[in-house]
């Protein structure tokens, strides 16, 4: 499977891809990387010489949604991705091999490409007990540490790998953590989302392939090209937010007219992702366009960030209950304060010595 001897350009030409086809391919790649549109020739020059990296894909506590998302990646097609872009040497869901043969493939790739292969991880790692999640009898923690040791970089795909995700949500029964909680000595790119936008996964790979460097990352280790602006700021419904026009329920006039979904719990203002421009399902639509607020799935702890249908500004606790309890406590403490003040004042009244004109001068 591994063939690192030829460059991408040679490989494509061997397949009879014309220069026009290659240019088109590069245009698509540049667009996917959110590069300025005029950058396609530069991308072409870089891709011409790029070599296919070996990729090892590890899946831990996950739902395979990230892989599902990737296999629906439309630009370029998964076939292209698998056979032209990268050499996917281990992916226990997609690979044909199983059992000992599969593990052998992983070990061979690690050995052959030591220090050069890319490690892709989806799923979080349970620290509560090694037996919570194992592959071929190896705990997730051990496999991650082993495999990351020789990797050039780690790409944490999906919110579980990037931030802990659903397994880490309170009460976090397995003691789940993110990749970056364990691996600290390798470059890590977080491609968060539940699942991530497929083009973003391939885009990150393409970036690595094109420029042989890691993309510029944000505070959370996410590529700025895709996570640089919030959903809210790129949302086509934003003008309604600014005008103060909101859907109040999912089936009201406002909802039909496509007004802002803030009041219905849209987490767009705090969610950074590219959904608003890249969209889903071959660019067909995305959650807000289909009438549902953003869940903020690309953000750390989004499962615990209050109800999905509660507006972002509403605190996560039960405020009415807090007000009720505090009010009752206030009444109790207030009653005590009344007692103290009454006592103090009646003491002052008792101590009152009648003032007569003989008392006007100070005691000296």
């Amino acid at each position: 499977m591994t063939d690192n001897s030829s460059t991408l350009g040679e490989s494509l030409r061997r397949q009879g891809v014309t220069r026009r086809g290659f240019l088109k391919f590069c245009t698509a790649t540049a667009s996917m990387l959110a590069l300025p549109a005029g950058m396609a020739p530069a991308v072409a020059a870089a891709l011409e010489k790029a070599r296919r990296p070996s990729v090892i894909w590890l899946s831990f506590q996950e739902c395979t949604g990230c892989t599902e998302s990737l296999t629906r990646s439309h630009a370029p097609t998964v076939e292209n991705l698998l056979f032209d872009y990268i050499s996917l040497d281990y992916h226990h869901t997609l690979q044909a091999a199983s059992g000992a043969a599969a593990e052998a493939a992983r070990e061979k790739a690690m050995h052959d490409n030591a220090g050069k292969y890319l490690l892709v991880v989806d799923g979080s790692i349970p620290l509560g007990h090694p037996g919570y999640s194992t592959i071929a009898g190896i705990s997730n923690l051990q496999m991650l540490q082993e495999t990351a040791a020789g990797a050039a970089a780690v790409i944490a795909v999906g919110t579980c790998a990037a931030f802990g995700g659903l397994p880490k949500a309170a009460p976090n029964p397995t003691g789940a953590v993110s990749v970056s909680d364990i691996i600290t000595d390798k470059p890590i790119i977080n491609v968060s989302g539940c699942p991530p936008i497929p083009s973003v996964i391939t885009g990150v790979l393409a970036h690595y392939l094109t420029f042989d460097t890691l993309p510029e990352l944000d505070q959370y280790g996410r590529p700025m090209a895709f996570f640089g602006t919030s959903i809210h700021d790129r949302c086509y419904r934003r003008p309604f937010y600014d005008k103060g026009l909101f859907a109040e329920t999912f089936d009201d006039e406002g909802a039909r007219k496509g007004w802002c979904l803030y009041k219905l719990g849209c987490k767009g203002p705090m969610a950074y992702n590219a959904c608003a421009t890249m969209k889903w399902n071959q660019g067909t639509s995305w959650p807000v366009e289909s009438g549902h607020g953003c869940l903020g799935c690309s953000e750390p702890s989004f499962w615990d960030a209050g109800g999905f249908y509660k507006a972002l500004s509403i605190p996560t606790g039960d405020i009415s209950r807090t007000v009720g309890i505090a009010g009752a406590a206030g009444l109790a403490i207030g009653a005590a304060a009344v007692g103290l003040n009454r006592a103090a004042k009646s003491r002052a009244k008792q101590q009152h010595g009648t003032v007569t004109v003989d008392d006007l001068e100070k005691t000296s």
């Binding site: 931030f163 970056s180 944000d218 505070q219 959370y220 280790g221 919030s230 700021d233 937010y241 600014d242 005008k243 103060g244 909101f246 803030y262 009041k263 203002p269 705090m270 950074y272 953000e299 750390p300 702890s301 615990d304 960030a305 209050g306 509660k310 507006a311 972002l312 500004s313 509403i314 605190p315 996560t316 606790g317 405020i319 009415s320 807090t322 007000v323 309890i325 505090a326 009010g327 406590a329 206030g330 009444l331 403490i333 207030g334 009653a335 304060a337 009344v338 003040n341 009454r342 004042k345």
Partner: protein, 220 residues
């Protein structure tokens, strides 16, 4: 690495509950403290009533006496500007209304964000003018103590952080949003124990003033 988000969740969760709790307890206790001191019965034959004039004064004190305004226009104008800016930003920004709706069970229509934005700028400008006035006007300079400046900061920070958060001038957004909420939590916690209480007690004070004058037949 993920501190800003954890921070935001904390200020929206535990911290908000705690500060709201302290706020409610404090305000209730303060009112009890005030009422506990009582008011002696008044045996003098009244010329007018108390209730109506008291309510009237609650309204009329919103407008300054002309002569006083002429002598101290900055205090009045800056005071108006900042209060109006603050109140519009607080009560007519949709995310805020959502919070009130979640607390009280009812909401009201918000204003378009450009208007709220302008109000916030006015509020900030007004507060800066108020501070300048406090630092330069001889009367205010003499009167002001640490608490006055503390209260100024407590009022200014929510406006400033709110403005920064809305315009995403600080990265990442959860950090500045968290700071905004945190600044409000400081405001809530200290509210009952500082002169921020005037927000509520001024109605009481005005009523007492109007009632005491009204009883003597004077519109105050």
């Amino acid at each position: 690495m993920i501190e800003p988000m954890d921070f935001l969740l904390w200020v929206r969760g535990t911290a908000f509950d705690v500060s709201l709790g302290i706020f409610v307890i404090g305000v209730v206790v303060r009112f009890f403290e005030i009422f506990s001191l009582g008011r002696a019965a008044n045996f003098a034959e009244p010329r007018g009533t108390e209730f109506g004039p008291g309510m009237r004064t609650i309204l009329t004190r919103n407008i300054p006496e002309a002569g006083t305004f002429k002598r101290q226009p900055l205090t009045v104008i800056a005071g108006y500007v900042f209060h109006i800016g603050l109140l519009i930003s607080l009560f007519f920004f949709v995310p805020h209304i959502q919070l009130f709706a979640a607390t009280f069970g009812f909401g009201w229509p918000g204003l378009p964000t450009p208007i709220v934005d302008a109000a916030a700028v006015l509020g900030i400008a007004g507060l800066l003018a108020v501070l300048w006035n406090r630092l330069t006007n001889p009367v205010m300079k003499l009167l002001s103590d640490k608490e006055d400046y503390l209260v100024w900061v407590l009022t200014f920070l929510p406006l400033l952080t709110g403005y920064l958060a809305y315009h995403r001038m600080v990265d990442p957004y959860p950090l500045i949003l968290g700071l905004h909420i945190l600044s409000i939590e400081f405001f809530l916690i200290l509210f009952p124990f500082t002169k921020l209480m005037h927000t509520f007690t001024l109605f009481l004070a005005r009523w007492y003033n109007g009632a005491m004058h009204g009883r003597r037949g004077v519109e105050s």
